[in-house]
Symmetry: D2
Subunit: 508 residues, 4 copies
């Protein structure tokens, strides 16, 4: 249906996603009217994510302030009160964070520079609903520099960095978000972005589809002026495809989730590093000589396998798809069924996007001290529920690490309760976030400036040329020097010298 | 002399291919009526290829027999004379070669086994035009076992293994091919396959498009009975797309060149090994510590870079495409312009599919003993012609290796005169050929059995399920065990348990 | 707070060590009488180490208890008061930590099992001075199981885990150690181990040489009964060699620091993992595409380079030794002088054991955001002192991470203030500690049981056979199956079937 | 035919060698008086080596000349006839080969340059017995440039390149060697070098010990004037140690075989490349996905494993030494007994230096098409003799490749009849030979110039400083820039700024 291969979000904080789609989200979507539906899922994920970052996520201590932001009267230094954040006084601290993030997001800074002449978003009125972090702030301020007006809410009730929100508010951005919103707060914030006198959005930047959903439900007429939706997440993209299929999508939408650059960084390159990081931070284990089975050899699995092989682990792979299976073979991994190695491995890692890949039966057969974790989708891959039985003892040995103990004393080490290891137990590098944010900015520019008729009421992938542009903006980070085609070569290849350089089906 | 393992020469039509399509072949195609067009290109390539395998390519010595096969009267042991080969007496030797190849092509043998009950090609009359080698023989005899009748010609005037052709003729296959055909012989052989009383083909298997072209030109009416064309080569596929664009394609055609499995093996996996092999066989150099620049980071470039990095070389990459460039960075290679490193590198390797990537100016600046070779497309990448000037001395130091000497004594080492290194100076493993042949067989079955209307007069990619099937048939070689989805999992993922497992745009 | 997996702080005496010996420690040693000498160095290191693990290092909260242990009256459940720890009531908690460590130290547990029949240390009276952690406890209780009596002090005033010390005291081990000893406490504890009525040690296990020094100074007559010293640290070994040279060593000493197994694990294998871990935990950076210079290509440098290359970094190496330099070349690294790349690299890592490898001049020329860290020896490699000048601003951005900011806004990221990254910002896996502890146990057995005359008053390396035995005891962890020589093969090779298998000069 | 890059055959005496010494050569040595002993071994090896390079080994065709060189009257252009080579007229051709080799042996050329001022070998009279190849010629002419007089014979009856010998003779070197000597010729040539009026050697450069043996036997008095022996081969070194043990060594001898640089290049770095090359040239197999067992994890095994792992093979290791076994584990290889995997592997590679590592029983259990080869020592590792039984059929399928066929049709692919794969089926890069030759030259200089008393009548390893010097002379090839210690740093480390940089026991 939607993207059979397309993963989903992991909403939170960034990123990594599973390789395969899952049918039962349809049900979730249908349940949506109850207003609980996906949100509850999303919240449970972010809750877990939050565990590990509770300290990192808030730079300063404001635990003593229990008043709801909705009940506070705050003004920024210019006298505006068109925002709602935890504490406007934290602005200075947040500003420093934003400045540090700017140093690591050169692509957006380059866009700002190029915008000094023309303002490609002049006249754009963007309403946004994303995680509110220093990186998002750099994006928002870039959109501003490109000529846009912005109003913003959080797409997740836990992920807002209050200091950053304060800094944005201080700079004049109408931001409505704080860490620890209630369900009611969440929708109130979104509404405050949209429902404002004398201002109507003409662009939507969404992450998860909640903002889009709200406008559909409450202010359907707004779509008359809206030029397009840019959607970041698997789930949000899924909903857009469903709207489109149902003939209900009334503006063009851009699926930025599936751009090449974003996919490779969110999955292959990021996971290659985060699998090591996540395992080390939680268990301090040594990788050398360890036997590991990785379930699934998609981009995420490929990243995990490459990293562990490089560290001296012996890696086995399971796959359902014969093509990926053959790739695993050629890359030097024994392709097995999980049952064949479950008794001997030291670590089990799931990256399938599937459910119940690791069952209670598997868990029963694992050897003592076996580590079990999930790099794939949501928390379905390991049947954690099956471990909640009376004969097993759970012992929390540190944050994100549980020992589950069998009656005979055997213990397995379960990480992040089967939720995503890389979100729960490691961090997402700013460079990955920079690619995402740049992709979003370019998609907004494209949709906003596209000539009448280029985009219809459908869901589009980012044009390859834009995808290439995102990549090119990140090359200077590596002091990388691109070669330019000569006229003669361009003619020979039948290509425009400025790209796009590949047919759409190219696999990279 | 005797060389049971020696694989055959792959002419550039069928083998490794460039990452990009190239505009100026259109001209060739248009020039086609002159009958010189592409053939002359093809011949010049195969001529060069032949250099290195002149002995290997013929298992037995028949140099004393100068009579043209067209002038000979030969019969096989069953009394048939419906064939034309060099010497039917070489059949026994060829049969042994075929038997050895069978051992390394388990996928085709598995197809034969499965065909014992039903014959999916019963009634098929296939006319084929490919390289004639032991591996092709295994394919042809498999097609026979699946129920088809076959008539066959060679797609290259140099690549036929006479002994194998004899063995096929002895077994009753009407084969018209020998090593060293003239241009006239070439078309005569093709015509003998097609223009036969009481038999009309209903399927075409082509490699390069010459057979298809001949039928279009001479027997256009035949297409009424033809169910489809299976085309193997980049060039042939290119011509089919042009026919399609021009509205002249009158039957469905299957582009098997771009199937996932074939692409990955022809390019990434094969080149990862053949770059080392080709360099070693020609130069006996040591890779450790050498500085290498690889031009182009497509599948071929990725394979070359991975192999050389693993052997301790220091690898630089040049790219025109920012996405591939970013991949090179993340994989640990410095992205440079060729000019920046040309003075310091020990080896220059081109894998771009472009022309004049290495110019005389670059060659002038290389250091003494620099090795220059091409893994990309045709012989255009290195401007070899620019080296044919009076002040430079050429010295052939061994087969496929020239020293080009500057007036000051500097010499560069040019491999295969800039033609494809892996075709000229190494061999293609049977396993890669097995994947190609299996893909062809399945494409024939699919087109032949497809219900009315599934395929129109257009060019199609192999259905993903078939692609997956080809992969699955090769897994037993690696004792690889695929996992099967449970019903519950298949439902969760929204997939059929038997595949296809990925959306069409999945990048692997 | 609770942290069953958390390893302990390794002070530089015991952990990773430099490749080379360093002359100016002699001075330290000579200064020793002032009682400040090396201790103050050691303390400053451990203080820093403590930063990052201040919570981890103490499992339970006892911050409210300010009484010095020396002033407390404590008894264990058997009524003994021959110990001095922070709080005997923490014993149960410490016991659990010891039990968990036992699971990861199978080699020592195997030694215990083998000791059920004979007690190779029966009659041994061992006085020890090491870090007091769960892993040390497993060693001590193993020595006990082998027949020895033990008395123990801490070799570092910060590294003692109070709960573990309590558990040992509860089990009857006379332990004198707590976290946060004063200098005076430190020597008092050592004295309490040695100066006891009716008990005199006959073996010394030392880590840093303080215990040995104390006995030399205060109770030189004790050496008459002492059969030998086992020393673990680079510094302690250095002092022993000096004593030996000076003719003052009056018992045999075993240098276990330089055993093959220990060296490879402490340096190559451990650093291969900890460089990634240390960088990730402190900076969350992405390794892919980063340019890194590693100063020094000894075992530590080799480990760092291999890991970073595998993660997609571009790695340059500096070396003074042409042999190591050639190895770096053959392993695929550009060998440069630091000056040549200092402007372009993203990360500078020192692993030389030398001093002032990174000077203020280098630091001045680094690019913005460059990360600087030390994996080598002590804190001398980076000239951190040169950064303490008025025009530079230091900003602590998180534990162990300082931004040093130049007047023009350029900032470099200094990790652990130039102290050892892997000790300050990552952890040492139990497996590495297990190898060290096993080596110590075997060295004690060897010295204690050696026939008269095998060892003289000199410093010895662990016999190769013992080294091999340590390795063999750790193979079961990897389910590794060793091959045994047949009689015929052993004869052919001129080897004993049980080893040793290599000549002494073998390089592994 | 012409083969300027083709390296020469390295007979087992000089080339790659096993990790361990082997007891039963003593017997050979004792049998020596019969004059058959080791020579017959050596000849059988070289005979096999010759198989593959019979054409390469002689650059020009002289097969029509059947006269023995001993019966010819030849003079060089200066009128000298103090030499005996195949055909002095081939000198020009040989000179060109030498010039090409000079380009790839920059270290020796650098020595020549430095010798322009002082002649460190002035007065030296060196008698040599080595393979006679272009690389040896560069060594000899370097020794000449350093001031020495040389007389030379071949250490192997097959390996002499006649053209090179001619070129040396033409330049005035008394050379006595040709390809295809008889046993009698062999000793005659050696005698002609030694037994000459008015000239007596004062240095010996030997490869295999035959020259040394001859002087011991025939001219023992010569040793009075001889300052030392430099020996290159494992066998020769073994004999020297035996002489030394027996108290019969009457001059100092230098074991250059065990220098660090030479060992690493002959074993680890060279085998890392040659295992791939040897397998490809003989079998054209694909490495990806193949299961391989490597017997022995010394330097050779480490090289083989690293290369195959990098190419996507799945590698198992067998070991007898627990330390090497643990290294294999940490490097990511499953440590098994051969029996455990023999049924499943595609390739078996021996690198142990042991005998009968692969027995008939193993061979019986291998699967069809399994490839078996030896990278270790001599031809003892695979019990090839056990395959010479009536029920097995041998089929030679190409040079160096035999199929051994079981009654049930199973065939195994035996390479080089169990002799060294890398010597029989690949080539040794000039760079490796350059390191060897430079080491020999420096050892001669050291022994010749050593002050009285530095070396006694014993066998010595090359001083570490010399070893470092060899390495440093090869760094410019890689444009590698060594860092120099500052005075302060040298003092801190207690090192001389010019080395040696490591203690003798350092393992690299």
């Amino acid at each position: 249906m939607l993207s059979s291969k397309k993963k989903y979000i992991v909403n939170s904080n960034s990123g990594i996603k599973a390789q395969i789609q899952f049918a039962d989200q349809k049900q979730e979507f249908n349940k949506r009217p109850t207003k609980i539906g996906r949100r509850s899922l999303s919240r449970s994920i972010s809750q877990s994510s939050t565990d590990s970052y509770s300290s990192a996520a808030s730079y300063t201590d404001s635990s003593d302030d229990e008043t709801s932001p909705r009940d506070k009267q705050q003004k920024n230094s210019k006298g505006s009160s068109d925002f709602c954040v935890k504490n406007i006084k934290q602005a200075e601290f947040g500003r420093r964070e934003i400045e540090i993030a700017e140093q690591e997001m050169p692509a957006l800074m380059a866009l700002r520079k190029r915008a000094q002449g023309e303002k490609p978003l002049a006249g754009a009125k963007i309403v946004g609903c994303t995680h509110i972090t220093a990186q998002t702030a750099v994006l928002m301020e870039t959109l501003g520099a490109l000529g846009a007006q912005c109003r913003w809410a959080a797409c997740n009730i836990y992920s807002t960095l209050n200091e950053v929100a304060a800094a944005l508010a201080e700079s004049g951005f109408p931001v409505f978000a704080w860490k620890g919103e209630s369900e009611d707060d969440f929708w109130w914030c979104i509404d405050r972005c949209v429902n404002v006198e004398g201002w109507q959005p003409n662009m939507i930047l969404d992450d998860g589809g909640d903002l889009t959903h709200w406008i559909y439900k409450k202010y359907p007429n707004m779509f008359k002026k809206i030029k397009g939706i840019v959607e970041e997440s698997v789930t949000g993209v899924h909903r857009l495809y469903q709207l489109s299929k149902a003939g209900k999508l009334c503006v063009p939408a851009m699926n930025v989730n599936d751009s090449v650059t974003k996919q490779k960084f969110d999955n292959l390159y990021c996971c290659r590093e985060s699998i090591l990081d996540g395992l080390k931070r939680t268990t301090d284990m040594m990788f050398g000589g360890k036997q590991v089975v990785v379930c699934g050899y998609g981009e995420v699995g490929k990243g995990c396998c490459a990293a562990l092989k490089a560290m001296g682990s012996i890696v086995y792979v399971t796959e359902i798809d014969p093509i990926c299976a053959l790739q695993a073979c050629m890359d030097g991994f024994r392709l097995v069924k999980l049952n064949e190695v479950i008794r001997q491995v030291d670590i089990v890692i799931t990256c399938t996007g599937n459910k119940n890949v690791v069952t209670r039966e598997h868990l029963d057969r694992m050897k003592n001290s076996c580590i079990v974790c999930n790099m794939g989708h949501s928390n379905t891959e390991i049947d954690v529920a099956s471990l909640r039985t009376p004969e097993l003892t759970w012992e929390r040995v540190r944050s994100q690490v549980d020992h589950v103990i069998w009656p005979d004393g055997k213990r397995i080490v379960l990480l992040a309760e089967g939720r995503l290891l890389n979100l729960s137990c490691s961090t997402v590098p700013t460079f990955v976030l920079s690619i995402t944010a740049t992709t979003q900015a370019l998609a907004l520019i494209e949709l906003y400036n596209a000539p009448e008729g280029r985009y219809k009421q459908d869901v589009y992938l980012l044009p390859k040329k834009m995808d290439e542009y995102v990549a090119s903006l990140h090359l200077p980070t590596f002091d990388a020097h691109l070669t330019e085609l000569t006229d003669e070569q361009a003619k020979y290849l039948g290509l425009n010298k400025n790209g796009p350089f590949k047919p759409n089906y190219y696999r990279y």
